[in-house]
């Protein structure tokens, strides 16, 4: 790595090493834009009613639904995954189609649980992504976190998930989630009187713990944690603490999707551009990947439920079971495609332009 590529200045260490440029990384990948959106929604609640359902549905298709498809597109476009992950790439999609069919045969017995599962899993998925991206930016910037710091960062990232798991008394989008779904009624009832206090405690922790961790890391030989890593945690906290649960899910859905699409497209493009036989420019790879994501999202979310309807199932139930299965497929696929083994191309992308510790 050339000396010119290495920047050790304090400001750069604090800003962090961007993938695109600081504004894009902070607003899209870091989720800064979602904080602006939250402020607008809280300050001017009527904005929510002014957004037409169709416009919101289009935004959902282009961000959230496309991001679900993105993990699949990444799985199949990343070189070597079919050999490395034969079950995931070849058999798992068939398993998912089967699960959809089984859940539609017993929609109330199984389908509702599948919905509860994905709604419970989602906040964990968002928290895990915030943690993963925070660590990745720290690593890229040359802030080498100790195992202990990483562990602390993980638990701090999980605070919004704990809130959604333990402190949401009612159903979200028609389904029980978290403790009210997983725990027996007796435990849920026992928890209910403490939920308010637990919620407040988690809020205080979510506001103070990231700052305390930043100070701790700064004082250590690792040097400062880049602010974008802190922003990842703040963004996730804002999503799940500032808005009521259904609103939080909708906001998180859109901005997590954007965050995810940005990072996955960056990895895809960098992979492709690094190939010796590459014949296309960056724009081609961006448009190809994103176009494939939108197309697949349309097929998965819009067309597939109607196929189940055509063979006699209820179309709305089909839609929601399909959504649940796609979510769970995405969570599982994500667990594999973001691995950062030394031999993996992901590692090369993260390492590119790596800032060394001073």
């Amino acid at each position: 790595m050339s000396q010119a590529a290495i920047s050790n200045s304090g400001v750069n260490r604090l800003v962090g090493r961007s993938f695109v440029n600081p504004v894009f990384d902070y607003m899209i990948i870091g989720g800064g834009l979602s904080i602006v959106a939250t402020v607008v929604l809280l300050g001017w609640p009527s904005t929510q009613n002014e957004i037409s359902r169709n416009a919101f549905a289009t935004v959902l298709l282009l961000s959230n639904m496309a991001h679900f498809a993105a993990s699949t597109v990444r799985l199949y476009t990343k070189r070597g995954t079919a050999d490395a992950l034969p079950f995931l790439t070849m058999a798992f999609p068939m398993v998912c189609l089967g699960v959809i069919a089984i859940c539609l045969v017993w929609p109330w017995q199984l389908g509702m649980h599948l919905q509860s599962l994905y709604l419970t899993w989602s906040p964990y998925h968002y928290a895990a992504q915030a943690y993963g991206l925070a660590v990745m930016y720290a690593y890229r910037t040359g802030c080498l976190l100790t195992k202990n710091d990483k562990r602390l960062l993980f638990w701090i990232a999980m605070i919004p998930f704990f809130r959604m798991f333990f402190c949401i008394p009612d159903t979200v989008m028609g389904a029980d989630i978290g403790s009210s779904w997983l725990f027996p009624a007796a435990i849920s009832d026992w928890l209910t009187p403490y939920q308010g206090n637990l919620d407040s405690a988690l809020l205080i922790l979510a506001c103070t713990a990231p700052i305390a961790l930043c100070v701790k890391i700064w004082m250590s030989p690792s040097g400062p944690l880049p602010l974008i890593s802190l922003l990842m945690l703040v963004t996730n906290t804002v999503w799940f603490f500032a808005l009521e649960p259904a609103g939080a899910f909708l906001l998180a859905t859109v901005f997590h999707g954007l965050q995810y699409l940005a990072i996955v497209i960056i990895f895809h493009v960098k992979d492709r551009m690094a190939e010796t036989d590459n014949q296309h420019g960056i724009l081609y790879h961006v448009l190809f990947f994103y176009g494939a994501c939108v197309l697949l999202a349309y097929a998965l979310f819009m067309c597939l439920p109607w196929a189940y309807r055509a063979v006699g199932f209820d179309v709305d139930q089909s839609a929601w079971v399909v959504i649940a299965v796609i979510n769970i497929h995405h969570f599982i696929v994500d667990g594999y495609i973001w691995r950062l083994k030394k031999s993996d191309t992901n590692r090369k992308v993260v390492d590119a332009g790596l800032v060394t510790s001073s």
Binding site: R53, N54, P93, M94, L97, W306, Y308, V315
Partner: protein, 263 residues
């Protein structure tokens, strides 16, 4: 041995993969064209629009049970929004089904839509026995509906009572029900509306209560004469009164179309 079993496993995965791809592409194609043919538009990205299209399609085919299932699922996923332009009959059928399943809020939304549709209709529908039966069930459900929209309820009570009392088709007539409905309509107006009194008289005549029929008919005529309304209406009521005096119920000739068209 281990290599051959891994190889076999890969072969199985490969087969599953190609079957899965074929199944997925086939399913998406099927879904696309099914949505297009059954709703008239492309599979939408707005679930409420697909729900609306599908609900219209189901109610249009008279598949009310399935349509109620649809509403039941849709109401679980978001605050339910009424689907426009389903028609009075569909709204009523959905309202009844939802009420029976305990979804009072959504049922009341559909009742209100049904009344609004009936109010918009220039002529009260008289040639659909299923619709009339549905309206009878709605009217028998509870007084709660009357309290919410008395004007619209009055319209339905009155028209329905009239058809039950005077329809040319014997299978549609039901004297007992006509009396019940007409008495409720009359109660709503405090026995001061000559139209509802006229209907009540026809209902009494249908059950053979000639004394009550003549008394109520005379009361209606008196109110109209006092109010100096057009003599044609008064003459119509007088003609009906003379029928009751001869112990004959009134039959409304305008209901003839449904009789002629019935099999």
């Amino acid at each position: 041995m281990s290599t051959s079993s891994t190889s076999l496993q890969r072969q199985i995965y490969r087969v599953l993969y190609f079957v899965g791809i074929a199944a997925f592409l086939g399913a998406c194609g099927l879904g696309f064209f099914y949505a297009l043919s059954s709703t008239g538009h492309l599979p939408s990205i707005d679930l409420s629009a697909t729900h609306a299209g599908y609900l219209r399609s189901l109610t249009g085919q008279g598949e009310y049970e399935q349509a109620i299932n649809q509403v039941e699922v849709a109401r679980q996923l978001e605050p339910y929004r009424l689907v426009d332009d389903l028609g009075a009959k569909a709204y009523g059928m959905l309202a009844l089904g939802l009420m029976e399943r305990g979804h009072r809020r959504e049922a009341e939304m559909h009742f209100a839509a049904m009344f609004a549709e009936l109010e918009k209709t220039p002529e009260f529908p008289h040639d659909d026995p299923e619709l009339l039966d549905m309206l009878s069930r709605v009217m028998n459900m509870s007084d709660r509906i009357s309290r919410k929209t008395p004007q619209q309820v009055f319209l339905v009570l009155n028209n329905l009572a009239w058809l039950r009392a005077t329809h040319l088709d014997e299978s549609i007539r039901n004297g007992q029900e006509a009396v019940k409905l007409a008495e409720r309509a009359d109660e709503l107006t405090g026995s001061s509306n000559p139209i509802s009194l006229d209907v009540l008289a026809a209902a009494y005549a249908e059950v053979g209560n000639w004394g009550a029929a003549m008394r109520v008919a005379r009361q209606a005529i008196q109110i109209l004469e006092d109010a100096n309304v057009d003599p044609q209406t008064v003459n119509e009521l007088k003609a009906r009164l003379s029928l009751y005096e001869q112990k004959q119920p009134y039959r409304d000739p305008s209901t003839a179309s449904s009789v002629n068209s019935s099999p």
